[in-house]
C-alpha cells in the first residue's frame, strides 16, 4: 500500500499552506473592500484618510491598476476592481495593504463609499422574465422530440429547482506575492490553474507572463472553487505587492470568502417526457436555466456539460436539450465538482423516478429499461458512442450485493408498521464524460530531471488539492522509470518549469499529467537505453532494455543487471541529457457547439449507488442507514486514494442534496455566510453502513496505466440519497401522489412535502 505522499507532514502539522508562509517581517496583509449592494452606482469615495492612517502602505482603486482592469477567464466581462457600477455584493472596489489585519480593518472604516442603489435581479425567474441571457441560447437535439411527445401514450412534465452550493474548502482563498528584480513577481497562490493565475497577474500589472512566476505546492481543498476565482485574490495581492514593493499576503476571512466567491450554479429546469407502458422513454425535452451570477466566468462550459449529461446513463431516441445562462446580481457562479453534470443529471433522474411512480413500478426497472446498451442504443444525444459500457455489469453486481429486492420488501414491511417514521431506498447510476469539453484544454506538460546521484525530480502541470494527484504521479513515475519511490520527488507545480498548463479540473489531472510524465520518461529511457546497451555489452535493441526495481537489463538476458544509479553517472559522462520535457494531448476529441454534435469525451466513467434512508416525517430528520457503491476506476493507480475520492465525492454530494442550503435576503445579502448557518456534512451524516467498492477487472484502454478519472463522477451518486428520501416521503401517500420536491431536500422541504401529501 502506497501512502499519501504528504500524509506524515499533514498529521504532524508540518505541511505548509500559503497562509503558513512567513516570508519576512516586511510582509503586509492585503485586504479587500467590497460592495455592500447587489446593484448600485458608485457615486464616489475618498481614500485620503485611509491612506494617511499609520501602518497603511497602499490603498488602491481601479484607477491605480497599471494594466488591464480585467480578471474574466474566458469572456472579458469581469472587472478586477469595480469602476462606476457594482453588480453584486462582494464585488471588490478598493484594496488595502497594511502592516496587519486590524490596521487594514481600521483603514476600511475610513472609506465611505457613496452608492445610488439600483434594482437587482436575484432570482432566476426574474432573470428569465427580464431576459438577461449572458450568451446565446444553446441547443442539442436528436430525433423529432415534439412529434414523438405528442404520439406518446404517457407523458409527464414538471419543473425542478436545484440549489447553489458553497465549496467550503477548508483553506480559504489565499495568495502571497513577493516582488523580485525589475518588474518580476512571484506568487504563491492557492490556485487550481497556475498558468491562468500567471496570465491574469501579468495582465493587471501590464507586464509579460515571463515576468510572473506562480508556484503551488498544495491547496487546502478546491473542488472547482479555485479554478478561476483564485485569480482574483492573486491579482489583488499582486497589485498591492506592486504598489508597495513589499511582500503582500491575502488570506480571505471565512465569511468574506463565502460572500465574495461564486458557488455551484443554481438551475431552474423545465422538462417533459413521453414514455410507453414499460417506462421506456421515447422522447425527452428539457430546458436548463442556469444562474450565472454577475459575470460569465465558466458558466457556458458548465451549462454545456449539464446539457451533455442531460441523458445520464439513459438512451433516449428523441431528445432536445435547451441551455440558457442568465446574468443576475449575485457573485459570478463558477466550477464545482461535476461542473454542471449534477444539475443535468438531477432532472433525468427525477423523470425516471416520476415515471416509476406513475406506472406503479419499482424505479430500478425503469432505469434498467432505459440504460445505454452495448450493441445498439448506444449513441448519445450529441452523437458520441458509449464505448466500454459498464452499466450492465455494475447494475447486476450492485443489485445483488446490496440485496436491493429483499430490502425493498423489508422496507415495505417497516413502512406498513410505522406511521411517522418511513424508510426509502433508491439506486442511481452515473455515466460521466471525461475530458474538458473545450477540446484544446486537453493538453499537459511535464519536466523530468534525473540528477547525477540517480535521484529524480518530477515536475508536471497539475495541482495537488487533496485528490492525491502527486501520489499518483509519483507512482506513475516510479513504475514507468523503474525507480523506487523514495528516489523520486514530485515538485511543487511551477509555471517556470511547466508553461501553458490547463487547470487541474474536469477530473483529468492524473490522466493528462500522468501521460505527460510518461512521455518525458519514455524519452529519457530511450536515451538511457543506448548507454545501458553499452554497459551491458549487449548487441540487442534499445526496445529490449527494461527499467525495473532500480535495475536496468536486457529482457532477453535478465541475469545480467546494472543498477539505475550506476547507469546515470555513466550516461552523464557520456554527455547524455538527463532532463526531458514531456507532453500529452488527448486524441480524437472534438465538439461542434453550433451543431451540438461531436466526440467531446475520451471515455466515460461509470458508477452506481444504492442508498436506504430513514425519515422522520414529523421533523424532516433523516438518517442514511446504508449506502452501497460500486464505482469504475479502470485499473486503479492507487485503490485507497480512489476510494477516498469516491467516499469524499459522495458525501459532498450528500451535502448538496440535503443540508447545504444557500439563502439570500431580498437585497442580495448572503444569509448563509458562515458554517453557523451553512451546513456541510459532519461525521454523523455519513451512512451508518457504508460499503464502497471499485469495479475490478475492467481496464480502461488508451489511458495512463489503464486507469480512469475519479474526481467528479462519484459526487452524482448522492442522488441515491436524495431519491431515497423522496421514496420515503412518497410512502406517506402510498406512492400514489408525487411529492413536491426540490434539491436540497432539507428538513423543511421534507416536512412541507409530507404536509401536502398527508
Amino acid at each position: 500500500m502506497l501512502l499519501h505522499e504528504s500524509a506524515i507532514k499533514q498529521v504532524t502539522g508540518e505541511a505548509v499552506f500559503v497562509n503558513d508562509m512567513d516570508i519576512s517581517s516586511e510582509m503586509l496583509t492585503g485586504h479587500v473592500v467590497y460592495s455592500k449592494y447587489a446593484h448600485a452606482k458608485i457615486l464616489g469615495y475618498d481614500l485620503k484618510q485611509a491612506k494617511a492612517l499609520s501602518g497603511v502602505y497602499a490603498v488602491l482603486s481601479y484607477k491605480d491598476i497599471p494594466g488591464e482592469n480585467q480578471v474574466g477567464p474566458v469572456a472579458k466581462d469581469e472587472l478586477c476592481l469595480a469602476e462606476d457600477v457594482v453588480t453584486n455584493i462582494g464585488q471588490a472596489i478598493i484594496l488595502i495593504a497594511a502592516k496587519d489585519k486590524n490596521t487594514a480593518l481600521e483603514a476600511e472604516k475610513l472609506i465611505d463609499i457613496k452608492y445610488e442603489v439600483l434594482e437587482p435581479i436575484l432570482e432566476i425567474e426574474k432573470a428569465i422574465e427580464k431576459n438577461t441571457l449572458i450568451a446565446p441560447v444553446r441547443k442539442i437535439e436528436r430525433g423529432n422530440v415534439e412529434k414523438e411527445l405528442n404520439k406518446s401514450k404517457h407523458k409527464i412534465s414538471g419543473v425542478l429547482e436545484t440549489g447553489a452550493q458553497e465549496h467550503w474548502y477548508l483553506e480559504t482563498q489565499s495568495c502571497l506575492c513577493i516582488p523580485g528584480e525589475d518588474r518580476n513577481i512571484k506568487a504563491y497562490s492557492s490556485t487550481q490553474h497556475p498558468s491562468e493565475t500567471q496570465a491574469i497577474i501579468a495582465e493587471v500589472l501590464g507586464i509579460k507572463s515571463n515576468e510572473v512566476e506562480v508556484e503551488v505546492r498544495r491547496l487546502g481543498g478546491a473542488f472547482g472553487g479555485k479554478e478561476t476565482q483564485a485569480n482574483h485574490i492573486a491579482a489583488w495581492s499582486a497589485l498591492l505587492c506592486n504598489a508597495t514593493g513589499k511582500p503582500v499576503k491575502i488570506h480571505l476571512f471565512r465569511d468574506d470568502d463565502q460572500i465574495i466567491t461564486g458557488k455551484r450554479h443554481r438551475f431552474l429546469s423545465k422538462y417533459e417526457a413521453g414514455f410507453d407502458d414499460e417506462g421506456k422513454i421515447i422522447s425527452y425535452s428539457v430546458e436548463l436555466n442556469a444562474d450565472a451570477g454577475s459575470a460569465t466566468d465558466l458558466s457556458m462550459a458548465i451549462l454545456e456539460r449539464a446539457m451533455l449529461h442531460a441523458d445520464n446513463a439513459y438512451y433516449i431516441p428523441n431528445m432536445k436539450v435547451i441551455g440558457k445562462a442568465y446574468r443576475t446580481n449575485l457573485p459570478s457562479n463558477t466550477a464545482f465538482r461535476g461542473f454542471g453534470g449534477p444539475q443535468g443529471i438531477a432532472v433525468i433522474e427525477t423523470v425516471i423516478d416520476k415515471i416509476a411512480r406513475y406506472l406503479g413500478k419499482d424505479s430500478v426497472e425503469i432505469r434498467e429499461k432505459n440504460f445505454y446498451k452495448k450493441e445498439n442504443d448506444n449513441i448519445t444525444h450529441y452523437g458520441e458512442k458509449v464505448e466500454n459500457n459498464r452499466l450492465q455489469v455494475i447494475y447486476e453486481k450492485i443489485l445483488k450485493s446490496s440485496e436491493y429486492r429483499k430490502r425493498r420488501l423489508e422496507i415495505n414491511q417497516f413502512n406498513s408498521e410505522n406511521e411517522f417514521e418511513k424508510r426509502g431506498i433508491a439506486l442511481t447510476p452515473v455515466k460521466f464524460g471525461i475530458s474538458f469539453t473545450t477540446a484544446f484544454l486537453n493538453q499537459a506538460g511535464a519536466l523530468v530531471n534525473i540528477y547525477k546521484d540517480g535521484s529524480v525530480l518530477v515536475n508536471h502541470g497539475g495541482t495537488e488539492m487533496g485528490q492525491g494527484l502527486y501520489t499518483k504521479i509519483l507512482r506513475i513515475a516510479s513504475l514507468e522509470l523503474g525507480v523506487s519511490e523514495e528516489k523520486i520527488i514530485v515538485n511543487a507545480t511551477n509555471t517556470s518549469k511547466i508553461p501553458n498548463t490547463s487547470a487541474t479540473a474536469a477530473s483529468s489531472g492524473s490522466d493528462i499529467n500522468g501521460m505527460a510524465v510518461k512521455n518525458a520518461i519514455d524519452i529519457l529511457k530511450d536515451r538511457l537505453a543506448s548507454v545501458a546497451l553499452e554497459l551491458l555489452g549487449s548487441k540487442s535493441q534499445k526496445e529490449n532494455i527494461i527499467f525495473e526495481n532500480d535495475f536496468v537489463f536486457d529482457k532477453n538476458k535478465p541475469g545480467k543487471k546494472i543498477l539505475f544509479k550506476e547507469l546515470i553517472p555513466a550516461a552523464y559522462l557520456k554527455q547524455v541529457s538527463l532532463s526531458s520535457t514531456g507532453f500529452y494531448k488527448t486524441p480524437d476529441i472534438w465538439f461542434d457547439r453550433e451543431k451540438g454534435v461531436g466526440n467531446p469525451f475520451h471515455y466515460f466513467a461509470f458508477g452506481m449507488a444504492v442508498t436506504e434512508v430513514l425519515v422522520d416525517t414529523l421533523t424532516g430528520y433523516h438518517k442514511i442507514l446504508r449506502t452501497d457503491i460500486l464505482h469504475d476506476t479502470g485499473d486503479s493507480i492507487n485503490d485507497e486514494i480512489d476510494i477516498g475520492q469516491v467516499v469524499g465525492g459522495f458525501v459532498q454530494g450528500v451535502g448538496w442534496c440535503t443540508t447545504e442550503e444557500i439563502k439570500w435576503d431580498a437585497k442580495g445579502n448572503l444569509l448563509t455566510h458562515s458554517p453557523d448557518t451553512y451546513k456541510i456534512p459532519t461525521i454523523q451524516d455519513i451512512p451508518a453502513d457504508f460499503r464502497v467498492e471499485l469495479l475490478k477487472g475492467y481496464p480502461n484502454p488508451n489511458t495512463i496505466r489503464n486507469s480512469k478519472a475519479v474526481g467528479e463522477p462519484p459526487f452524482m451518486l448522492a442522488f441515491s440519497v436524495w431519491l431515497a428520501i423522496k421514496d420515503a416521503i412518497s410512502v406517506v401517500g402510498n406512492h400514489k401522489s408525487e411529492p413536491e420536491f426540490s434539491l436540497p431536500a432539507t428538513n423543511e422541504v421534507i416536512v412541507l412535502a409530507v404536509e401536502k401529501i398527508r
Binding site: 499519501h4 498529521v11 504532524t12 502539522g13 483553506e171 459522495f650 461525521i683
Partner: protein, 481 residues
C-alpha cells in the same frame, strides 16, 4: 501576578507579561497566539467561530491525583488568560524525534495508514480531537467517536477513513509519551497554580480580570459594572473574532472553582454556573435524560468542553439549547452579589431577547434543578437542519403530568418560535384537564400553530417553524403512547 499569565507549552513554562508584549492582548485568542509562533503553524483557522474545528488544540489540566485531564477545545474562541495554569498541547507536540527518526503518535499513524488526510488542512484539528479521544476512551464505540469528531469539518474525505483511524488507534488505554511525563507535568502545573490572587491585565485600552475566588469575582463585578462577564466565552469571543468589536473590560470567571460545583440536596441538584456543558451533560444522563438528550446535541465536544451552563442561560438567546428544558423542569437561577443571594424562577429570569433579570452587580452562581417527580414526564426535542453542531430551528421541552389518562399539569416550552423561549400557554390550557388522546393532540397541534408568529430567517421559514411546532406535539404523543 499582575499582567502575567503562565502556562506549559512544549514542556516549558511560558510566561506572558502583557506589558512587554507588543502584539499580544489579553483577548488575543490562543489560535492567533500559536500562529504568531513560527514553530506552531500546524493549527489552522477555518472559520473563527468554533464551527469547523481546524483550530482544535488540547488543554491538559491537573487533576487531584497527579493525573492530567485532556480536553479538546477550539483555540479560536479561547482568550489567552483562560489557559493560565494549563498545559497547551498542539499538533507539533504529538510526534517525537528519536535518532533522527520521526515517531508518530498512534493517532497520527492511524490517520496516515487509513488515508485519513487528503488536502490536509483540517488534519491537525482532527489529530487533536483524535488525541483527546485516545486519552479519554479505550476502544470507543462508533457513537463516542462520532461525538468526539463532529466538531471537526472535513470537506475531502467523507470521514469514513477518519472514522476507521479512530477505531484503529484508540486501543492502548491512552498510553503514550504524555502519560510518561504526567507526574512531572502535574508537578509543574501545581506550582503555577499555587498563586491565587486575581490576574489583572491592563493592555492598551483593555482591562482584563481573571479572578480565582467567588468573593474576588463579586467584588470585581461590583466595581466594574459595565465589564463583560465571560466564562467559556464561546459566545462573546465571536463579537471579537467575527464582528471585530473591541472588548474593553472583561471579567473572566473561568478560574473560579467555586462556580464549578455540583451539589445534591434533598429537593434537587445545584449545578455551578461555571460548569462545562460537557460535564453537566454527563451528570444529567441518569437523573435528567431529557436535558441529557439536549446537551448531547449542544454544539460540538470542543464547544461543550468550554461553554458553561451559566453562560448559556445568561445569554438568553431565543434559540439557546438549554432554556426550554429548564423551563419544563421549573429550574431556578441562583444569583449573587457581594452581599446577597437570591433565587429566581427561570421563567422570570428570562426577560426577552437576550435580556435577563441579572442586575449589574450580580453573577449567576448556579442553576437549581428539582429532583424528578415520580409521575412527571419530561421530554425534549430539537429540530435543526443538521443533527450535530447546529442551532435549533425549533425546539420543544415539555413537562407532563397525567392522572388517569387526563392531563393534570403541562408545560410546553418552545425555542425558536419567538424572540425568546416561550411557553405555549393557550395550548397548555387547552390540553389541561383533557384526555391524553390523539384527537386532542391533533387539535392542540392546530392551536400551537396559531399561538406563535415565528420569523423566516437563514435557518427556516415561518411556515416550517409552525408546522414543526405542531409536529413536535405529535412526537411527544407517540413517545407517551
Amino acid at each position: 501576578m499582575n499582567n502575567t499569565i503562565k502556562f506549559l507549552l512544549d514542556d516549558n513554562v511560558v510566561e506572558i507579561d502583557f506589558r512587554k508584549e507588543k502584539n499580544l492582548r489579553p483577548t488575543t485568542t490562543v489560535l492567533n497566539y500559536l500562529r504568531s509562533l513560527s514553530s506552531h503553524k500546524g493549527v489552522k483557522e477555518g472559520c473563527a467561530e468554533g464551527d469547523c474545528g481546524a483550530c482544535t488544540i488540547v488543554l491538559g489540566e491537573k487533576k487531584a491525583d497527579r493525573k492530567i485531564k485532556y480536553t479538546a477545545v477550539d483555540s479560536c474562541l479561547v482568550f489567552l488568560p483562560m489557559i493560565h495554569g494549563k498545559q497547551l498541547i498542539t499538533v507539533e507536540n504529538l510526534s517525537q524525534k528519536k535518532d533522527g527518526k520521526v515517531i508518530l503518535h498512534p493517532v497520527q499513524e492511524a490517520m496516515v495508514n487509513s488515508f485519513g488526510s487528503q488536502c490536509g488542512y483540517c488534519t491537525p484539528g482532527f489529530i487533536m480531537s483524535l488525541f483527546a479521544l485516545y486519552k479519554n476512551h479505550n476502544n470507543p464505540t462508533r457513537e463516542v467517536i462520532e461525538d468526539s469528531l463532529s466538531g471537526n469539518l472535513c470537506r475531502c474525505t467523507g470521514y469514513q477513513s477518519i472514522l476507521e483511524s479512530a477505531m484503529k488507534a484508540c486501543t492502548k488505554n491512552g498510553g503514550d509519551h504524555f502519560t510518561e511525563r504526567e507526574s512531572l507535568t502535574s508537578k509543574i502545573l501545581k506550582e503555577i497554580n499555587k498563586e491565587k490572587t486575581t490576574i489583572h491585565i491592563v493592555s492598551g485600552d483593555q482591562t482584563y480580570f481573571h479572578p480565582f475566588t467567588l468573593d474576588d469575582a463579586l467584588m470585581l463585578r461590583k466595581h466594574y459594572r459595565n465589564a463583560i462577564v465571560v466564562n467559556g466565552a464561546t459566545d462573546v469571543a465571536l463579537r471579537q473574532t467575527k464582528r471585530n468589536e473591541k472588548l474593553t473590560e472583561i471579567i473572566d470567571l473561568s478560574g473560579v472553582d467555586e462556580l464549578k460545583i455540583y451539589d445534591e440536596e434533598e429537593n434537587g441538584f445545584y449545578f455551578g454556573a461555571g460548569m462545562s456543558i460537557e460535564k453537566m451533560k454527563n451528570l444529567c444522563e441518569k437523573p435528567f435524560p431529557a436535558l441529557y438528550n439536549i446537551l448531547k446535541v449542544f454544539g460540538s465536544l470542543q464547544i461543550r468542553n468550554f461553554a458553561t451552563i451559566g453562560g448559556n442561560v445568561g445569554s438568553a438567546s431565543p434559540i439557546g439549547d438549554t432554556l426550554p428544558v429548564l423551563f419544563a423542569k421549573n429550574a431556578k437561577v441562583i444569583l449573587q452579589n457581594s452581599k446577597n443571594k437570591r433565587e429566581v424562577d427561570i421563567e422570570d429570569f428570562i426577560k426577552g431577547y437576550r435580556k435577563t433579570d441579572l442586575k449589574d452587580d450580580e453573577l449567576i452562581t448556579s442553576i437549581f434543578l428539582p429532583k424528578p417527580k415520580k409521575n412527571e414526564i419530561i421530554k425534549s426535542y430539537k429540530v435543526s437542519k443538521r443533527k450535530d453542531l447546529d442551532i435549533s430551528t425549533v425546539s420543544l421541552s415539555c413537562r407532563l403530568v397525567l392522572n388517569k389518562g387526563e392531563v393534570k399539569e403541562m408545560i410546553l416550552a418552545y425555542g425558536g418560535m419567538a424572540e425568546t423561549t416561550r411557553r405555549a400557554k393557550k395550548t397548555e390550557e387547552y390540553l389541561e384537564g383533557r384526555e391524553w388522546n390523539r384527537a386532542n393532540i391533533e387539535e392542540a397541534m392546530k392551536i400551537v400553530k396559531e399561538e406563535f408568529a415565528p420569523i423566516t430567517d437563514a435557518r427556516a421559514s415561518a411556515e416550517f417553524r409552525k408546522i414543526a411546532a405542531g409536529n413536535l406535539l405529535m412526537k411527544l404523543f407517540i413517545d407517551r403512547s
